[in-house]
């Protein structure tokens, strides 16, 4: 098996607060291989974005990586600081933000923003960069790219702007792209187009993608594997068909049952009782235990088993009695 592009091992992010340390990311491990799209799902506050920010080195202080390792193409990058990390951003790791309306500098032409990014990372002339900027815009499907390079961001629609953002994220040919809720702020009608575009470009180039979302439709549409996060921890990790159709963790199960797509045909959508705990009050043992229908004594004290690929962090996974439940 090929070396993964990104490998996260036991990553923890801590934020010191007045009431003690909170851990928005707690002991998370996963790999992403070249050309693979890993979906990271979870409710808001589950630590999905925080993990992405940790990888690209953009945690805003006082948040910091407390323990664990991040390996990119066989190099350890979690200890890189300042200039060394900056060289990596954009060049090795691209990032797509949630809201295309606010992620482009309103005062600079998009061509200039592309040229500037490429010339920061690649040794090319101004002319060559301009040529490549047009090509990059063509690639993301912007009509009339040759003249549109001279436009300002406000002259584009939301969907078009997100295409520009994707062009910017990919223009230095990074091996990993972190897409943080790339479709959440867009109209439903253009969401599918953007996802399809992202998927096509990454497949063509063999780019690894970390696709952070809370939208199960996007997960089903685009991803190869899925990591489910709950209260900063990894609940389940596995191939997309397996997680969507045969979830093992009771939380994943609840999440699927509460999603219109996965529970087609049911009269009423399922609800998980209660709410995700606040990060300063995560319960002992399995973080999900107070809301879990299958919780027993063992769930309340020791931490649940570590997630391996295709497995859930659960003492009582749903795998063996799926049949029994259906009957």
């Amino acid at each position: 098996m090929a070396e993964p592009v990104l490998s996260i091992r036991d990553l923890s992010v801590e934020i010191p607060t007045r009431h003690g340390i909170v851990k928005p990311v707690d002991g998370v491990s996963y790999d992403i291989r070249a050309g693979e799209i890993l979906g990271v799902v979870g409710e808001s506050g589950a630590g999905k974005s925080m993990a992405g920010n940790a990888v690209i080195g953009l945690l805003s202080p006082p948040a910091h990586i407390a323990s664990g390792e991040i390996w990119l193409n066989g190099k350890r990058i979690d200890q890189l600081r300042g200039e060394a990390m900056r060289r990596l951003r954009g060049k090795e790791i691209g990032m797509v933000f949630q809201d295309p309306l606010t992620s482009l500098n309103p005062l600079l032409r998009i061509g200039d923003q592309l040229v500037e990014t490429m010339r920061t990372h690649l040794k090319i002339s101004e002319k060559e960069a301009e040529k490549r900027a047009v090509a990059a815009l063509e690639e993301v499907g912007i009509p009339g790219a040759a003249s549109r390079v001279n436009s300002y961001p406000h002259e584009f629609s939301g969907g078009m702007r997100q295409r520009v953002v994707i062009a910017l994220a990919l223009c230095a040919e990074p091996s990993l792209v972190i897409a943080d809720e790339p479709t959440t702020a867009l109209d439903v009608s253009v969401q599918a187009q953007i996802i399809a575009l992202l998927k096509r470009l990454c497949r063509e180039r063999g780019t690894a993608v970390m696709l952070i979302t809370h939208d199960m439709g996007v997960i089903a549409e685009a991803t190869d594997r899925v990591a489910v996060m709950y209260a900063g921890r990894l609940a389940e990790l596995g191939a997309v068909e397996q997680v969507l159709t045969r979830p093992q963790h009771p939380y994943t199960h609840g999440l699927m049952a509460s999603t219109p797509l996965a529970s087609e045909g049911k009269a009423r959508l399922h609800q998980i009782p209660g709410a995700m705990p606040r990060l300063d009050a995560v319960p002992d043992g399995c973080a999900f235990n107070p809301r879990c229908p299958r919780a027993t004594e063992v769930c309340r004290t020791p931490p649940p088993p570590r997630v391996k690929d295709g497995m859930a962090a659960c003492w009582h996974p749903l795998v063996e009695d799926v049949e029994e439940k259906v009957s």
């Binding site: 690209i56 954009g90 990032m95 500098n105 406000h154």
Partner: protein, 326 residues
């Protein structure tokens, strides 16, 4: 764009008309102009002749119109105190004030922006904290005390710089400049620091708060996520966006510098229009007061107009909104 500029010019003219009305009312209702102009020894004949000459027997609007006509031709009457045409006196003194204001303005803008950016980027540094605390004292310190303090240190104690006047001036094409002589430049130092310091503090505090706001924006995070160098992020991306709201205030501050020059000119006995204005108030020299008011209004309105037009070249969103006619 043209429609926008025309509208702004129209508004500016309206402001000038209102100010003109105030100035005109001063002429007519503050004290009796006849009294002021003729003094104690006068005959009824003199009074009648002067009334007719000044058009005081006409209606209010006719008089106002005449005032505006005269003002447009640069005629503001004769100074009660000096007995010379006000326009001549103002023109003679304008270079001193304009040179002082220009130097102070440049100082205030350069240092204000530089320090504002510095304190925003190094927000938690010791120097940034020190500068911010000092600036709070700077805001509370009346301009004239700064001037006196500088005079005390650099003129009285150290004896390095002159404490009053402009030094030697050279006349270039009817413009008396102090820029070309050593004593003229030396004389500029203390007054221009005095005048510029307060504006610099204001600009610095504004630039800092706007820049901190901009640095929190998504496009700055995205710029960092693309691995752009700090210099490019801070100066190309953040500073440009910071300047959009700051420019209006800088424009207003430039106007304020000309007005605050009154104080500095008094402290340093600087022979400009501000000192002239203060003396005019002390002696109730109405024509000089009215002319100064009109002069300064034209400058203010002109600066505001220039700032509005400048926005078109900085903010593409504005250009599109106004020209495209959405």
């Amino acid at each position: 764009m043209l429609a926008f500029i025309i509208r702004r010019v129209g508004q500016s003219l309206l402001v000038l008309l209102i100010v003109g009305l105030v100035a005109f009312s001063m002429f007519n209702f503050v004290g009796d102009p006849i009294d002021n102009m003729l003094g104690q020894e006068r005959t009824a004949e003199d009074i009648a002749r002067l009334r007719e000459q000044l058009g005081l027997d006409r209606s209010f609007f006719v008089q106002y119109f005449r005032f505006l006509q005269e003002a447009l031709q640069g005629n503001f009457g004769v100074s009660y105190r000096q007995g010379r045409p006000v326009t001549d006196i103002l023109l003679e003194r304008a270079p001193a004030t304009l040179e002082l204001a220009a130097v102070s303005g440049v100082l205030a803008i350069l240092f204000g922006i530089a320090l504002g950016v510095f304190t925003a980027i190094r927000r938690d540094g010791i120097w940034a904290h020190a500068i911010m605390s000092a600036s709070l004292i700077g805001v509370s310190l009346p301009t004239f005390l700064i001037g006196i303090l500088l005079i005390y240190v650099f003129s009285v104690e150290l004896g390095w710089l002159p404490s009053f006047g402009r030094g030697d001036v050279v006349t270039v094409g009817g413009w008396k400049t102090g820029f070309l002589t050593e004593s003229g430049l030396k004389a500029l130092i203390l007054p221009s620091i005095t005048l510029g310091l307060y504006q610099m503090t204001l600009i610095m505090r504004l630039v800092r708060s706007e820049m901190l706001e901009v640095l929190r924006q998504d496009y700055i995070r995205f710029a960092r996520a693309r691995g752009l160098r700090d210099r490019a992020v801070n100066f190309r991306h953040a500073l440009k966006n910071t300047m959009v709201p700051v420019i209006t205030v800088i424009g207003l501050q430039l106007g304020a510098i000309i007005a605050f020059a009154i104080i500095t000119e008094t402290v340093f006995q600087w022979p400009g229009v501000g000192l002239l204005f203060i003396n005019a108030i002390q002696f109730v020299d109405i024509p000089v007061m009215a002319a100064y008011l009109m002069l300064i209004s034209v400058m203010f309105v002109g600066i505001n107009l220039a700032v509005d037009i400048l926005y078109f070249f900085i903010d593409p969103r504005l250009r599109a909104d106004r020209t495209g006619g959405h």
